[in-house]
């Protein structure tokens, strides 16, 4: 991939995160939640990580935000290696913040909004002088479409959409350059979801933020992301610009995901050509040999069980469109 180094803000190289777990009655096992992921986040872009439950996308978010240490792999932020000690973690979090899925559990029910927004200023003492805390809190609330009148309230007094706005304001308090958004819209009603999408897009362009947007919802991703990476069982199976991945999906899993995503158009259900996958995602404790998707893949060949396909650029496709499938260049049909 040809990317100007100055464009790259965050880079993860061969990130892995393994968890040891007990198997019922069968000793110990290792869950390879993230298993060799290369990730590049460019300045000012929104990169979406999509995939179904258990694909490792949220684990990857905990690595990128340094809530968990990777089992192996390197990370670089703004050209510098990310050190593993605690002090540098604090500095790192000035640059990289997270907004979580559930606006009901991610805010302390016993803290007023003012206290929630003040906490980052207490932790990062050089950020805002004490005399400016209140004014800055109001400014943050106004950035997310709330206001001074909300400062004294508690989380339970807000709707889900408003709480998510508070979570965004809290993340912005340290003036980060990257926001990791872990399913920030999934708990919201669709009419409210669109309000938050608009807000996030607006904040991104006003503040020049980079987003790592984690979602299972391909429709939301299409409206948010510049680039998309599709994950399956701990690995990226397809990656490219949103336009090329949605317009010309090459990995069978991406095609199945797009085909399964409901579209609010009754004509679609009568059209043929829907891809109906059988079965569930295999256990990440013992993933299938070779390509992890082959057990649900209708195009799988014998060779797919032998070796694991690497994420490689397409010869025939758009630039930077990469796919981990032996048959990515094979014509449709079989």
């Amino acid at each position: 991939m040809v990317v100007e180094m100055s464009e790259v803000l965050f880079e993860g190289v061969q990130l892995r995160k393994y968890f040891d777990t007990k198997r019922s009655g069968r000793g110990r096992a290792t869950v390879k939640a993230v298993d060799g992921v290369d990730l590049v986040l460019r300045r000012g872009e929104c990169l979406a990580l999509v995939g179904e439950s258990g694909c490792g996308k949220s684990t990857l978010a905990t690595l990128v935000t340094r809530m968990e240490e990777p089992t192996s792999g390197e990370m670089r932020f703004d050209g510098n290696p990310v050190a593993r000690d605690r002090r540098s973690a604090l500095a790192f979090r000035r640059d990289v913040q997270i907004v979580l899925q559930d606006p009901f559990t991610s805010l302390n029910p016993r803290m007023t909004i003012e206290a929630v927004l003040r906490e980052p200023f207490e932790i990062h003492a050089d950020l805002v002088p004490r005399s400016g805390w209140r004014a800055r809190s109001i400014e943050l609330l106004e950035m997310v479409g709330l206001g001074e009148e909300h400062l004294g309230r508690y989380p339970h007094e807000f709707s889900g959409g408003q709480r998510q706005r508070v979570s965004i304001a809290r993340a912005l308090a340290v003036e980060p350059r990257v926001l990791v958004l872990d399913e920030p819209l999934s708990a919201l009603d669709v009419s409210v979801q669109a309000q938050v999408v608009t807000l996030l897009k607006d904040l991104q362009s006003r503040l020049g933020l980079s987003y790592l947007f984690i979602s299972h919802d391909l429709a939301v991703v299409r409206s948010m992301a510049d680039r998309v990476a599709v994950m399956y069982l701990g690995r990226i199976v397809e990656e490219g610009s949103t336009e090329s991945v949605y317009g010309d999906p090459r990995h069978p899993y991406t095609r199945a995901l797009l085909s399964s995503s409901p579209v609010p158009d009754p004509d679609r259900r009568d059209e043929g050509g829907r891809i109906l996958l059988s079965g569930d995602v295999p256990s990440p404790i013992d993933p299938p040999s070779g390509c992890a998707f082959r057990t649900r893949c209708w195009r799988a060949l014998e060779s797919c069980a032998q070796a694991r396909p690497d994420l490689e650029p397409l010869h025939s496709g758009a630039e930077e469109h990469r796919v981990a499938c032996f048959r990515a260049e094979d014509p449709e049909g079989v």
Binding site: S53, S159, V192, A194, K201, H216, P262, V263, L277
Partner: protein, 329 residues
């Protein structure tokens, strides 16, 4: 339209009273479900869609809930005066969103499916368990003999939802009520479950009343759609009428706010939020968020208009049988 199996007319459900402020969760809701028909009740949180579904089977705590209706009938039989334990399961069955909490964690899933067959049909333990395995096979559960001996926690979310559907269909009900049956599932598994429900309806002539917030799921499943907002029905029509020519400003706003995999444009939000259920607006419930609202929308509740094709619309500003699809077009 086919002959009505389920008839709901003038349904009002409220919670609380006495010490607490009364919450009127469902107000004056009417619709029917025909034989073999799939009706989707579409709405966001607080629309009253689940409360409506639960009141059909009397699933509310009678001490804190008051249910009033002009008609609540299954095939002409008044559900309020019938023995609901006889109706539940055998004539009307229900599938819930969260299969993990709806299944009993300490019983094997095969036994749980078998239980209703023993209670309602008087089958022996052996016969009932054999029938349970057959049902699981019909739900495309691989290796059903083995799976029948599993406990709910040993199964995946999609598998648990199949078990719930097997339980619901065990007594071959005439009507299946499915309350957000696929909301907790991944999209590839969701499509499997929707296909399964569709097949069951087609093969058994069963009626389906499906509750969902997901416009895409409604488009997949519905013959007709009932759109609810803040406890009221605002629009009813065939799936094409509602999704292709929505007339109520709320329906239009809802469709416009849905992101789509096949469109690059940004969704357009509806400004504002739901009204406080303790302080429902006097006029049209949607007026505070409606860009078209006029003075009377805030003071006067719109009457339900009944159109020629069975379409219904509760709006002061749009005509149910008007020729244009909407004033914006």
């Amino acid at each position: 339209m086919s002959e009505a199996l389920l008839t709901i007319e003038g349904l009002n459900v409220s919670f609380g009273g006495r010490d607490q402020p009364k919450i009127r969760a469902v107000r004056d809701v009417s619709f029917t479900v025909g034989r073999g028909e799939c009706v989707v009740v579409l709405g966001e949180s607080g629309s009253g869609k689940s409360v409506t579904a639960q009141s059909i089977l009397g699933l509310h705590d009678p001490r804190s809930t008051s249910i009033e209706a002009d008609r609540l009938e299954l095939d002409g039989e008044d559900l309020r005066s019938s023995d609901l334990n006889r109706v539940r399961g055998s004539r009307i069955a229900m599938v819930f969103q969260d299969a993990l909490s709806a299944l009993n964690p300490v019983h094997r899933v095969g036994q749980q499916i078998a239980e209703s067959l023993r209670v309602h049909r008087g089958l022996s333990k052996r016969q009932a368990e054999e029938r349970a395995v057959e049902l699981m096979r019909a739900m495309q559960i691989p290796d059903p003999e083995q799976r029948a001996r599993n406990y709910p926690h040993q199964l995946s979310g999609g598998m648990r939802q199949r078990i719930m559907i097997a339980m619901a269909l065990a007594l071959e009900p005439e009507l299946l009520i499915a309350d957000e049956p696929t909301t907790a599932l991944d999209v590839t598994v969701q499509l499997q479950i929707l296909e399964l429900l569709r097949t069951m309806c087609r093969e058994r002539g069963m009626s389906l009343l499906m509750i969902t917030h997901d416009v895409g799921v409604a488009a997949e499943m519905a013959d007709r759609i009932v759109v609810m907002y803040a406890g009221k029905v605002v629009e009813v029509g065939s799936v094409r009428e509602i999704l292709k020519q929505p007339k109520h400003p709320y329906t239009r706003g809802l469709l416009g706010s849905v992101p789509r995999t096949d469109l690059t444009s940004l969704p357009t939000p509806i400004p504002g939020g739901l009204p406080d259920p303790r302080r429902i607006p006097e006029g049209c419930v949607f007026a505070p968020r409606c860009e078209l609202a006029e003075a009377r929308c805030f003071s006067e509740q719109p009457e339900m208009q009944h159109g020629a094709t069975g379409r219904e619309l509760a709006c002061h500003l749009e005509r149910v049988d008007g020729s244009d699809g909407g004033r914006d077009e």
